[in-house]
Structures are given as structure tokens and as C-alpha cells.
Amino acid sequence: MRGFIAGKLKFLLAVLLGLVLFIFTLFMALPSPEQILTGQRSDKATTNAIVKDLGLDKPKWEQLLLYINDLSPLSFYSHESPRINQTGGISVGHLKSGKILLKAPYLRTSFQSKKPVSEMISDAFTGTLILATTSLFFALIIGIPLGVFSAIKRGSAADNIIVAISAAGISLPAFFSAMLIAWLFGFVWRHYTGLEMTGSLWEVDPMGEGRYLAWKNLILPSIALGLRPLAVFVQLTRNTMVDILYQDFIRTARAKGLPEWKLIWVHAFPNAVNPLVTSIGGWLSSLLAGSFFTEYIFNWKGLGKVAIDALQNSDLPVIMGTVLFTAIIFFFVNLLTEMCYIWLDPRLRHG
């Protein structure tokens, strides 16, 4: 297992390095950030001062190396560098020209707001994580029972309706369902639902004295985001269960006189879990990384919103930080999924 994880970590390192190079190259195609940071009457001296302040006056290769140095847990900084204090690392080596520091990866500060990128990501990720997991939870608790029910009632009118609706659900784009749900339940019927079209997990007291959890704001975006995975889980569970329910061991169990609920949930369902785990892993990754439209429509503070704003503003440190963070999330969710396979399927464990 250790070898397996070590191999995966090496792969992650290569992916991260590749991403840094790729984004740096792509950044050349974006408008220069000083075009966005200067006012309409800024003169050359001001523009040059901004360029210098952002470190964009240095050659591209030097900018890249300096970024990798900041990102690396083991970094070298000259005595004059402000990073010595900014990064908060511990000194592990003294050289004549500077220090070698052991520190957490330093993602720099935003070009726009000057806020630390790590702080921006952690602020936004809480919202995304809660939204994604709640949507997935909603999709699972409804999708699996519906799929099982549909499989048991195969060929019936109920089965046909569930299959038809779930097929429609799969083809419904997330932004469309989000807009529809926000409009209907947050505007047209707001007096009955008591829900708002927009809102984040935390709401702020109107006097600014503090913030409090507003779980009700989670309801509409979770449903909007969870609709597609729900439809997928219904179909996946149904199809797998249909296969299993017609196998010999089920017939034998039924002949032995086992109660129907035990037959389905103890004997049949555990065999249908593997494809579901694959699907859940994939959905969790994509919901964590790709819930931008839902976040935008419900004005839910999350990682997608931060990333898109950064792209519009050519805010390189934030673009880089969010992409690298998303890559790490994908990696760990996939790793977790693979470990679940091994745990669930004895054949893989022993193989």
C-alpha cells in the first residue's frame, strides 16, 4: 500500500509541475494585469511602477523559477527578500547570500486585492465542499432507493416513468435547472417557501456584528446541483441491480425463502456498489471543481467563482492557486476511490 501511495504522490508532483508550466504559458495569452490595475488616465510611470510591484518586469523564466521556489516546501531566499518573513517558514540552512527555508507552499497574494491566495482558497473552498457534499448526499439518498425500486419493478409503469424522468435529468444542463429552481422557489413562490434566490452558507447580521449559519440557503443550490448526479445514480443503480437480481445466487436465496428486503439490501445491493463508488468519486471531483454555474446563479461563495473572477482579472497567483488546489482535490478523491475499490473488492486486495 505504501508503494502504491508513493507512486501516486510522484505522479501528483509531476502533474503539478506540468500545470505550473502550462498555466504560465497560457498566462501569456491573457491581457497583462497592469491593463486592469491601472486607471483610465494612468501614465507610463504609474504603469511601470505597477509592473515592477507585481514582479512582471523580470524575464519570464525568472518569474517562473521564483514562483516554483515560492511553491516548493524547501525554498531559497536572499536576505533582502520580503518572502523570508511573508512565508513563515523555519530556517534549515544559512548561506552567505540567503537562507534555505522549510515552509508550507506559498501561493502569493492576489494582484487585485493583495489578499493571500491560500486564505482566499480556504475561505471559498468551505462553501464549495459543503455544497458539493450536500448535493451528492441528496443525490444518493434519493437516487439509490429510486434505482433499486425501479429495478424491482422492472417493466412496470413506475419503472418507465422513473427511467424517462432520470433520462431527462441527465440531459438537463446544470445552469438551466439552477435558473429554473432559483426563479420558481426563490422568487415566484418565495412567500410559500421562505427561500431566497441567492445566498451563501453564512449570512451577516445587518449591523455587521457577526455572521451566522444560514442552512436554508443550501437547499436550492444543493437540489439544483444534485439533480444530474441523482439521475445518473438512479440509472446506474437500476441497471446494475437488474443484472444482479436475475443471477443464480439471488434465485437460490429466494428459493431458500429469504425475506425480500434481505434479499435486495443484504445480498443484491452490495454487489452493485462498485460501479456506484466509481461514479460517486467522479461526481465528487467534478462537483468540487465544476459547480461554477450553480455558484454564480445562487451567488454562493465558492471556489469556481473565485477562479472565474481571477481569469477575468488576469490575476495569475489566484488562477495558479485555484488550479493547483483543484488538481490536488481531484488526486485525493481519485486516490480515495481506488482505495475504496480495494477495500470493497477482496479480489483486488489479494491481487
Partner: protein, 539 residues
Amino acid sequence: MFTGLVVSVIYMLLGNYGCKNVDNYSDSLIFRYNEDATLATLDPAFIKSQSEIWVAQQIYNGLIELDSALKPMPALAYRWEVSADGLVYKFFLRRNARFFNPIDTSSTLPVTSHDVAFSFGRIANPSTASPSAWIFSGKINADIQKAFQTEGDSVFVLRLLSPDPTILSLLGTVYCSILPQEYVIKTSDFGHHPVGTGPFYLKYWEEDVKLVMRKNPRYFEKVNGQSLPYLEAINVDFIKNKQTAFMQFVAGKYDFFNGVEGSFKDELLTRDGLLNSKYKGRFGMMKKPFLNTEYLGFWLGDSLNQQPNPLVNLHLRRALALGVDRMAMIRYLRNGLGSAGNHGFVPPVLLKETTNGLSYNPELARKELAMAGYTDGKGLQELLLTTTSDYLDMAVFLKKSWADLGVNVKIDVQTGGMLRQMRNKGNLAIFRGSWIADVPDAENYLACFYSGNFSPNGPNYSHFSNPEFDNLYRQSFAAGGEKRYEIMHRADSILIQSAPVLVLYYDQSLRLYQNQVTGLSNDASNRLILKHVKKTTSL
């Protein structure tokens, strides 16, 4: 997570939906509005956008402020003197103005002349890299200490190198707000923890989620013996989707809504710019000419992307300008919001005499096109018009108008940042732009075509150069009164007849407000002044 969900279910079952208000203030003391743009900073030296200006205006004061007619009036300086040569300005500071620090409310730091010198020096110092450095650029001695001087704690002296009739207006902008030197020096992130003397102070700010300002209990201004402001708090939400924000305004969640966009303009306004009948009486609307000229710029360099540039031909540019029916454009694309750009580049409200522009005249446009050597557009290559997606409808209208003359145009849609970059490098034949006045003065507009301001070092993106225009522009600084208006009118006339620019329209601001809101004003700079606002009943 599971615990969270259980809590959520209990919370919802208990029906605890309402907003908390720990101090139990009446809703009539809370003013709410939405901001669709992100606020990057509230440091006056770095703010750029209107969204940042609106919040900063509540937190800070300048030496002087602009009244509703945008004329300078006392603020932190209760009076000022100007030397006969117009080079020395002496400001006398009021003694009852104090900075309010929300972290240390017991602190009663007074405003001194040293704070003024520090605040202006901070903008002018190149190491600050302030986007507002242009305010003092070239106008003061390179040695900042010689330009910004103090006489004791309560007199501040500004020394200019040459007279500048716009300087008082510039000092009235929010960029020139007065900051507490002591606090700014020891605060690492002043942009997010601002301290000022304004009617409100920043209480809470979570980026892109919520901003709350509270009444400054030490604000110096009074009306009829009553301290301003009247409101206890201002709440700003950050819904990015403007249509959603509009629906929230209609639902009564916001007290104020600014602007209109394509997705709901027909829902809100008639073709004549009046409120649609379904909204009449439900809320108020105010419209005001806004010092923003929307235009198309023409690149006048000899070559364009290594090819000869057809737009150097004056007759071609004039033909393009004469071929656009701006009245129809305003009526059908803007629902009557704004006035047709049939005059100069300078908005007519800033001049005493109206400039005659190149109004719609298809016959004359065809003649100009023939004089340019392209009768009915024959022999003219396809022209490229670059715009952002917000103005695509307008670009399509222009393409159609010019197609009627026989001129083929291709539309290229770019992001705002990319358009600015390409325009500054002179890579765009025809580009859409807008110019919002930094100060209410025609100089601000004419500067865009002065040959000393060629991009990328200045705002002359067309690279227009005309010695007579340049001469008049320079003269405008030394002249005063009626003479100055006359000079600027002549410069504007030369400019518009030379057609380096096609003026589309002069903008109008539109504000919607709930019926219980009173005291809300509007001016040509579209500023948001909330210190006089009251709400009569709660929502």
C-alpha cells in the same frame, strides 16, 4: 457534515429563517443595495471602479467636496486661499474632524495638515504605484516635500508648477481622501481595514459576500442641529447577476438599484425611457445626464498590423460617423436612456456653447465615402470593429448601418482587459470605448486627443495629432472664465470635424429606489451620497 445537516433540518423545522439583528435596530435605519462588481480595495490610493468609489465616499472626506452641481465646497478644509498666480493653494483645516477607528473606538485622532501632506504624498510617490498618480503627475515638484507643505497642524499648502484650473475639482475626488498617517503606516492592509472621517465607518467586509458600514458617531457635519448621517447602517450585497439583483429589488430586498442592462431593460422601461406601467407607483426612478461619453475610436497610425491603414483617410472616417442614426440607436437599444452623440466628444453639459457634431446624414455619408475614393464602398477592405460582449448589440447596429453605405465590417468580441491591451498597443482599427470624467471639466475629455498623451503612455488611443488642437489644449490651462470655455469649445469642434472618434451617445444614469427612501440625490458623476438619506417606514 452529518451533524451539520441534522442541525440544518432542526433549524429549518424551527422556522428560524429571518435575518438576525442583534442590536434590534429598525429596518428603516438600514439602507440596502447590491453591487455586481467585486471590491478589490478601499484604499483611496488604489481604488479605480465606481463600486469602490461608492463605498469609499461613505468612509472618507477630502479637503474639499463637490456639491450636487459638482462645484467645490468646504469639507475637511473649511476655507482656502489661492495665490494671484494660481500656483499656491492654502487650506485651513476644521478642528472638529476626527478619524474613527472601529478597532479602537476610544481613539480620537484629529485630522492635521501632516495627514494631508502624507495622503497626497502617498498618491504622488512613484513607489506607491497608485493608479491615481496622474492627479499630481507633472503638476508638482519632483521633490514631494516642496509641493506638499504644512504650516502648523491646521494649515496645508499645495504648490503647483503651473496653474491648473481643475485642481480643486481633483482634490474633491475620493482618490484625494485624507487618511490618518499614523494608522496607515502601522497597518499592513489598509485597503481592507480603512479608517476615515466620513459619515460611516467600515464595520464588516467579507469579499463578494457582504459589506456593512455603520454610522460614524463622531462625524462632524450637522443639518439643523442634527448630526448626519440619519441611517444607522448600510448593507451591500454582491450578487453578480444583475437580473437576479433587479428581481431582488422588485421583491423589496434592496432600497436602491442602479443601472439597467439588456436582459431586463424592456421589462423595466418603455422605448421612450419611462417606467413600464406594471412598475409605476411601486418604486421611484431618477435619471440624470452622466459624464460618460460612449464612443468608437479610430486608429490613425499609418499602418495597422503591417498593412496600410485605410482609416488615415479623413473622408472615410467622416463617412462612417455620418452613417450612424444615433437617435434610433438610443431609442431601440437603450430604451431612451442617454442622448444621441450628435455633438462633440465633450458632453454638452460641460461646455457653454454646443459643438456641432457629425449627425446622421446618409446622403452626405455617401458623398464623403466617394471623396475618400470608395464610391459605394467599392475597393474598401473589410474593417474590423472590436468590442466587448456588453456592447455587441450596438456593434451589430453599426455593422448594419455601415452595410447600407456599402462598407463591410467584421465584429470581433474581446474581454475588457484584452481590448484595453490591444487598443493601447495600436492593434485595433475601430474599437469601442467609454470615457467617464474623473473631474467635471472638459479638459478631462480633450486630454484623450492631446498628442502628448499617445498610448500606451496616455489615453490618446487613436494617436490623433493636430497642432492647432494641441495649442488650444495647452492654452486652456492658463485661461479662465468665459475665455476658457471658448478655447475648449474650439478644440472640441476641431476634434469632432477631424473624426478620430465617433461619438455614440452621452450616457444617463438611472436609479431606482423604494418609495420609503428620501434624500437620495444624483449628480453628473453618478456618485452615491448617503449621508442625507432617510427611510420613512420599515420594509
